[in-house]
């Protein structure tokens, strides 16, 4: 026994001494080792430093940190698109995507003043800019960026920081004519198709008409135990419950404010009559037993489960939030056409039939983008890569792919995809080919752009591709409303150069930002109370809510937003 123990202890000690010596190695050697690593990448890019002018360009690898964390960590040259681009430029990018908390990661980068070559800071862009982590691109663009100038030229005024310099390239710049999205990825009041079918496909324009439709259907189908209306409230997705008043008044999604087209006044609406009207409507609905109380406690998964259950008649939400649920429903409908009844159909509902503005106007999100950092070893090379990427043929490559493989061209020069190609391009293919990695977060044409030959830049926006995606039932219901696309159900968007107002940069921790946090907290607390209150108590609770809301400095916030909106309008005029 004793000997066994001694043996055990001896092994433990041996192991530990190994560990200890390894530890001490890292103490002394660790530095050397990590420097060695750096040196590696260093030489790689140093190689690229010199004569990239002549002959096949030398290989270089740069790093990009993506704070929007959209995909796997890969080398771009492992994808088909990335390989082609590497052949053209000799440049490969090593992508690192955010996994944990953005502010934490960016904070540590800033504190140690060591950055990847390029960063997509997403929501932390103000911190990155404030830290002086981005270099000025103006001269580099002048020197190496003819295509950057072509693509971004019209937006240069808006891209300039207060000091007149350009620090990053945004993503949503429209090139050529604006192509609207045929699908509804933005907000709408949705209703099950069977409801419209039963009612004989009526035109639904006002909120009252919409809720009447829902109410009648539920009343007629008592045995089905249906839920009239639900609303998404989970965590940050709560805006799906606070935004409707804005849309019901006939405004697009500017976030916390509505902006008057003429006076350019930005006004919050969270405590306005519009919100009151919206909530009292929900309150009324709740009293009739048509509103699902659990809306206020359900998480996102539960919400999606309810949408796919076929029991929910209607709801308001943004298309991109219900994509997964709608896919399930459509999938079922493809297998069994009778199930088409449960697919949701979008309706342009306003309070009193005002002109709706659900569709996004051509907008320019100017607080997102990609910039080159002060740590970058060879900024010129990166700018050259960006410029090369912005060549029309490369934009076609990253968006449509390779002719004959991922798209075809008909005799009229229109791009389209065959059914097999559409089927082939699944998630795995998108990763392998690189669509997924080049989808977004690169200097590119904004999604709604048009190519020089008149084709839509984004396959999903090409009419031919869209039409192919429709089922017979889809075509039928669209036909009933005299529309070719879902978007045609809605009014065309007015011009709003500041759109989206939620994209107006706000400094971290500044008054406007804290205001928004507090406001969200307040609405989160009071909306359930207002909706679930006894109808007789509604006024009382509303007054209480008004009182609390009055403590916020709304005027200062509105002034800030109005000023910013006006600034943008001025910039655009120049």
């Amino acid at each position: 026994m004793k000997r066994k123990w001694m043996l055990l202890v001896m092994t433990a000690v041996m192991l530990l001494s190994v560990v200890a010596s390894a530890c001490s190695n890292s103490g002394g050697n660790g530095n050397g080792k990590s420097e060695g690593n750096n040196a590696n990448t260093g030489t790689n890019s140093a190689n690229g430093n010199g004569g990239s002018e002549e002959k096949p360009p030398e290989k270089a690898t740069f790093t990009i940190f993506n704070g929007a964390g959209a995909a796997k960590d890969i080398n771009t040259n492992e994808t088909t698109i990335g390989k082609i681009l590497e052949d053209q430029t000799g440049v490969n990018f090593k992508l690192e995507n955010l996994v944990g908390d953005l502010n934490t990661k960016i904070g540590t980068m800033i504190a140690s003043n060591k950055y990847p070559d390029a960063i997509i800071p997403d929501a932390a862009i103000d911190e990155v800019l404030g830290a002086g982590a981005f270099i000025d691109l103006t001269d580099l663009i002048e020197e190496h960026g003819p295509n950057i100038k072509r693509v971004y030229g019209p937006y240069f005024n808006q891209m300039k920081a207060a000091d007149g310099k350009i620090y990053f390239l945004p993503f949503s710049n429209v090139v050529g004519e604006y192509v609207p999205d045929p699908n509804i990825n933005q907000g709408a009041f949705w209703v099950q198709r069977r409801v419209l079918k039963e009612a004989g496909y009526p035109q639904i324009k006002t909120l009252d008409e919409y809720f009447k439709l829902v109410e009648d259907y539920v009343a007629k189908h008592k045995e089905e135990d249906l839920t009239g209306f639900i609303s998404l409230t989970h965590d940050w997705r709560f805006f799906a419950t606070t935004n409707p008043p804005m849309h019901l008044m006939g405004y697009p999604n500017d976030g916390e404010v509505t902006v008057d087209l003429n006076t350019l006044e930005a006004k919050t609406y969270s405590s306005s009559d519009a919100t009151k009207r919206w909530l009292s409507k929900l309150n009324e609905l709740n009293a009739k037993g048509l509103f699902d109380k659990a809306s206020f406690v359900d998480n996102y998964d539960q919400y999606l489960a309810k949408l796919t259950s076929g029991k929910v008649v209607g709801f308001f939400d943004y298309g991109w939030q219900i994509g997964n649920a709608q896919n399930v429903l459509k999938d079922a409908a493809k297998k069994d056409p009778a199930k088409d009844d449960f697919v949701y159909f979008p309706l342009p509902v306003t309070f009193d039939g005002e002109k709706d503005q659900y569709l996004d106007p051509p907008g320019f999100v100017k607080n997102r983008g990609i910039g080159i950092t002060v740590s970058a070893k060879d900024p010129a090379r990166i700018v050259q890569y960006f410029d090369n990427l912005l060549k029309e043929e490369n934009q076609v490559l990253k968006s449509w792919g390779i002719k004959g493989e991922t798209y075809e061209v008909d005799e009229k020069g229109r791009f389209y995809r065959t059914a097999e190609q559409i089927a082939k391009i699944d998630e795995a293919f998108r990763e392998e080919f690189g669509f997924k990695y080049y989808d977004w977060n690169w200097p590119n044409y904004g999604t709604n752009s048009t190519l020089a030959d008149g084709n839509a830049y984004a396959p999903g926006l090409q009419a031919e591709v869209f039409q192919m995606s429709l089922t017979e039932a889809d075509k039928m219901i669209l036909d009933k409303y005299g529309a070719k696309t879902y978007a045609e159900m809605f009014a065309a968007p007015d011009e709003r150069p500041w759109f989206p107002a939620w994209g107006i940069p706000k400094e971290q921790g500044s008054q406007p930002q804290i205001y928004e946090t507090k406001k969200t907290e307040l609405t989160k607390k009071y909306f359930p109370k207002l909706v679930l209150a006894k109808p007789a108590d509604f006024e009382k609770v509303w007054t209480e809510y008004q009182g609390e809301f009055g403590k916020l400095d709304t005027a200062a916030y509105e002034k800030f937003m109005t000023d910013e909106v006006k600034k943008i309008v001025e910039q655009v005029k120049q």
Binding site: W5, T104, G323, E427
Partner: protein, 313 residues
């Protein structure tokens, strides 16, 4: 010797149990069975979701049995080329981290269990205070950088070398050892080292197993340090971190920072191949199974002899 005591001491000749005893036993067994049902459910539920078609899972209503069987979720998660290497790193950090922590904690615990040690109080208080203080994220990060531990495996080991919680637990155990054993050893003229290695350590097996379990699970589950310090070095990535990446990846298709994301390359309306909901379940199972399987080996040290065994000198 501890094990021997267990084996030989099993008293088969228990006295006949009284009625009260039997009632207690029934109640006890019933209660514990109920407890098992309640605590097994989340695991079974997660397992069922992980084995169910992702697209179908959105509809909800999966309890303990999958509705549409599939291994696709696992294929998606485990097909990742980086997973194998990351698992190796996870195992390495768990093994090395656990051994180092248990050993170092036990050593310090031994010194502060010695009532006559002049630095006892100083060392004890110095350690305890650190449980409740924290310099904050950025200062810690800068320290690790200045120590050259960024992009290094040892950042997984050094900062957590001694957990105060573990230290105190071990100390309590050592203090609970029969004084006579230590005394006699000292009279024998055994040095401190021998005293520690050949008497205290073996006697503390149950608590060392406990601490090893705590540390092992912590090391295995940890991914925040990978995120902070080694996120750009794929060679040092761990299983948990890679799983987090996969989860993030599946999230991305649903989140939309901007209008463009969702449909820029639309055209194929295939249903959802993966969803965060299913991936989360799958990674829970994939990540916890290995450590759960290690458990029985440790368990014998603190469950086996409980009422009958125990450590006798």
């Amino acid at each position: 010797m501890a094990e021997l005591a267990v084996k030989t001491k099993k008293p088969k000749q228990r006295r006949p149990t009284s009625l009260g005893d039997r009632i207690f036993d029934y109640a006890n067994y019933t209660f514990l069975t109920l407890l098992m049902v309640v605590t097994l459910y989340p695991f079974l539920n997660t397992l069922a979701v992980s084995l169910n078609d992702a697209n179908d899972s959105i509809r909800g209503g999966i309890y303990v049995w999958p509705r549409e069987w599939t291994l696709d979720n696992y294929k998606y998660v485990l097909a990742e080329a980086t997973i194998f290497h990351a698992t190796m790193i996870s195992i390495l950090r768990t093994v090395i981290g656990t051994i180092a922590t248990v050993f170092c904690s036990a050593m310090v615990a031994y010194t502060i269990s010695r009532q006559d040690y002049v630095l006892r109080k100083f060392v004890t208080v110095a350690f305890i205070l650190t449980m409740y203080i924290n310099g904050g994220l950025i200062p810690n990060f800068l320290l690790i950088r200045d120590l050259g531990l960024i992009d290094s495996f040892w950042v997984y080991i050094w900062p957590g070398l001694i957990g105060v919680f573990n230290l105190i637990i071990i100390r309590s155990f050592i203090e609970g050892l029969p004084e006579s054993i230590l005394e006699s050893a000292r009279i024998d003229g055994a040095g401190e080292y021998r005293n520690f290695f050949s008497i205290v350590l073996p006697l503390c097996t149950p608590v060392l197993a406990t601490v090893a379990l705590f540390t092992g699970v912590y090391q295995w589950n940890q991914w925040f340090d990978v995120f902070l310090y080694n996120s750009s070095n794929i060679d040092l990535s761990t299983l948990q971190y890679e799983l987090q990446k996969i989860l993030q990846n599946s999230n991305a298709s649903m989140s939309a920072k901007s209008a463009g994301d969702a449909f820029a390359s639309a055209g194929n309306q295939d249903a959802n191949a993966v969803t965060p909901f299913s991936i989360r379940a799958t990674m829970t199972i994939a990540a916890s199974l290995p450590i759960i399987m290690v458990y029985p080996f440790l368990q014998k040290y603190f469950v086996k002899g409980m009422t009958v065994g125990g450590v006798k000198g």
